[in-house]
């Protein structure tokens, strides 16, 4: 599924990386625990988290995910968005809660990483 479709489905606002939304993702890692994301992500997944600090983007970079979705309408600081822009990681924010995001994307065919 293209990141642009995910944006539309989740009614998300893109904070950075608008130009990279043609990228395709098949799998998702979703957690507020960064070690959990590091343990399960293999590469190029969609990362869903409620953690909006600088470590979330650092983790996204180290884990090599395709994009980050912040849930529950939590906006990161400007410096976090700037850091994501430098690392070329698209970031979006949606008002949906994590449970709903995962359910909706799962129903559309995306799978978790195990």
């Amino acid at each position: 599924m293209k990141l642009s479709e995910i944006r539309d489905i989740l009614q998300a606002e893109v904070l950075t990386g608008e130009e990279d939304l043609a990228a395709d993702v098949q799998q998702v890692v979703a957690s507020d625990g960064m070690s959990e994301i590091l343990a399960f992500a293999k590469s190029r997944e969609l990362m869903i988290t409620g953690l909006t600090n600088i470590q979330s983007i650092r983790t996204a970079d180290i884990a090599g995910v395709s994009a980050v979705v912040y849930c529950r309408g939590k906006y990161p600081d400007r410096k976090v968005i700037e850091f994501a822009r430098q690392k070329k990681i698209p970031v979006m924010v949606t008002r949906m809660v994590m449970f709903d995001i995962c359910g909706i994307l799962y129903a559309r065919g995306l799978k978790g990483v195990s």
Binding site: G33, S56, R58
Partner: protein, 146 residues
């Protein structure tokens, strides 16, 4: 025969500096990628480096991360001055953590760091002395993902 050392770099780590936490690991990622190291190997090594770096930032006063590249493997030595670990077997158990709520709110301290490091390593060794600090030695073979 001893493995020939091709590169050795030291990086200083600063305890409690959460803004900079992870910078060294990002730098290592770029160094290894530029050297043309295979992507899965880089990924495993950088996850180990990042978890190790976070441990130093979360728990220790300061530390040093040393990256060594040989013709056989990539090694990381993470040596810190900090509180040390009283029971290493317990610390290695997935889910065990002494992290504060403050650290957990930052997305770390769920008891997965050390197990994550071990999982991604081909060789993993940890030594610790309470009141002095902790040292972690990791090796990832260059041919492991070839």
């Amino acid at each position: 025969m001893m493995a020939a050392e091709l590169l050795r770099e030291n990086f200083a780590l600063q305890g409690r500096n959460f803004d900079k936490a992870g910078e060294v690991s990002s730098e290592i990622k770029v160094i290894l990628r530029d050297l043309g190291i295979e992507a899965t190997t880089v990924r495993r090594l950088v996850i180990v480096a990042f978890e190790g770096e976070m441990n130093v930032v979360m728990y220790a006063d300061r530390g040093t991360l040393t990256l060594v590249l040989t013709d056989e493997d990539i090694r990381l030595e993470i040596v810190d001055e900090g509180p040390g670990i009283p029971d290493i077997d317990l610390a290695m158990q997935p889910g065990y953590s002494t992290a504060s709520d403050e650290l957990r709110e930052m997305g770390f301290g769920f008891g997965m760091g050390l197990p994550n490091m071990k999982k991604n390593a081909d060789e993993f060794r940890i030594e610790s002395e309470v009141g002095k600090g902790t040292s972690v030695y990791v090796s990832i073979r260059l041919d492991a993902n070839a």
